[in-house]
Amino acid sequence: MFWNEKIETLKGQELRDLQLKRLKWTIHQTQNIPFYKRMFKEAGLHPDDIKTLEDIRKIPFTNKSDLRDGYPFGFLAVPMNKVNRIHTTSGTTGKPTVVAYTKGDLETWSELLARNFTMAGLKAGDIFQNAANYALFTGGLGIHMGAEKIGAAVVPSGTGNTKRQIEMIEDFKVTALHCTPSYAMHLTEVAEEMNADLSSLKVGCFGAEAWSENTRKDLENRLSVEAFDSYGMSELFGPGVAFECGEHDGLHIWHDSYLVEIIDPETGEVLEPGNHGELVVTPLVKEAMPLLRYRTRDITMLMEDDCPCGRGPKLARFFGRSDDMLTVRGINVFPSQVEHVLRSIPEVGDQFMVYIDRGESHLDEFTIQVEMNKTFFSGELSDFVKLQQKIVKTLQDTITVRARVELVEPGSLPRFEGKAKRVIDRRVI
């Protein structure tokens, strides 16, 4: 199902022409921003020097820190009387940055979300529960607008009060749920305790953090949904930048609206499709806050193969932020990889935490706390010793991480309603 088939399947020269036209417009728009004016001047560039899509490589990158330095309105390309809404980013990696939208931006953004939800098979008649934070987080109001756009009946349930959320799903016969994957796991756990009947659900849209294929299996089995991965970033509007189609093999990014580059995060060199690197995006349709070559810090890859659904090239599922990448004893690990390994072990429960310390020997120590799955406890101490050894060995074999594993009581680890913070780096360097 398509929301806008022509634009979603646009390819080849026709797409490139549209991208170039929009890129030129975007560059023009950025010249209202002192930061970009100065950038072009310092680089000896004139907006008219960008004649092809490849010419974009002449433009320096924009970093999150640049946006932060422009706090609050340094990156506005329009006067305040054209601004229709202001959000701030979640500030998981520092102090918040401001993002602003014109009326046109809000319209474009909901259009992109409508494409995503239609791609997931949703339409008028669906009851869509949005269990995301409705305050400054773009996943609340953003997703809400998109779901309204396709004509779904939207339940703005927000976060918290899990029992009430579950009752609403049951009573309203909710068909689609949007939340973070961590919250979905928590909701699943509580629903199972309550013996709730959530069989009306058919689609789960999970985003705002990286999650593994094993989590997908878990959520699909236990929540009886088809799970769709959703990627977004407030600086690029918010949720809806990229989204899975029914193939569940990578996320479609809307190429008419976002120009994608993948770079080596160390050297800044642009990588060919099929290579993992940092996602750099130039939004082509943003009025209030246009950006050029924005470094997302997210690690992904542009996939080479065409998708059977007919839409354009996809981004591989995200490992996580490059900021989240842990270097422990010289080995690079993403929390999502640890999660993937843990979820492949059935005796391990739903929750885990990772701690990194610098030990007395000045070596990094990896400590993983896992809740064990109650149903696997036979009453013997040896169960735990065996499980502990199994986890240690599996982590060592699959991601070459040497970890100390602590088993903790079921229900004792923190549950997350928004973005999960499962990794705590306690190293003092």
């Binding site: 064990m372 109650k374 406890f377 036979s378 009453g379 013997e380 101490l381 735990f384 010793v385 502990q388 602590e406 088993l407 903790v408 009581e409 079921p410 229900g411 004792s412």
Partner: protein, 144 residues
């Protein structure tokens, strides 16, 4: 077979951390369950609390309600002569019968000592032990 000697021990998973034992003891207190025998086995940061109580079902339900991981484990209680060498006597006989003890713990109850043993097949073991003249304490002495 020999069911009257099979004691329902509760095996409760618990982390080793400050205040944990008190929290567990509080559950017994609040439910009015009285503890007959108590033992902690530990490894690394976790342990299994093994406990024999007068009302196992009441205790089980109370712990399950509080999200504890726990199971019933069938154990036997061997009566030991309360003289030096009582443990040796009991252990020697069990060894001679080729019964493999997974774990055991001793406690004193009234005027005699008891050795709680966990074996692979408690029913069979009870039969063999009785035959060899070892005195087992009936479950009815613990569960009321």
């Amino acid at each position: 077979m020999n069911e009257e000697y099979i004691i329902k021990q509760l095996s409760i998973f618990s982390e080793n951390k400050a205040g944990k034992l008190a929290a567990i003891a509080k559950i017994f207190l609040d439910t009015g369950v009285s503890i007959q025998a108590f033992n902690i086995a530990e490894a690394n940061n976790f342990g299994v609390i093994r406990v024999i109580v007068d009302k196992p079902e009441v205790a089980f339900e109370a712990f399950a309600k509080q999200n504890y991981a726990l199971k019933y484990t069938d154990v036997l209680a061997i009566k030991m002569q309360d003289v030096p060498g009582g443990l040796f006597e009991a252990a020697k006989l069990i060894g001679e019968l080729n019964i493999n003890i997974e774990y055991a713990y001793a406690f004193r109850s009234g005027e005699y000592g008891a050795l709680i043993v966990r074996v692979a097949n408690p029913g069979e073991a009870a039969k063999a032990l009785k035959k060899a003249g070892i005195e087992l304490i009936p479950a009815a002495n613990y569960h009321f």
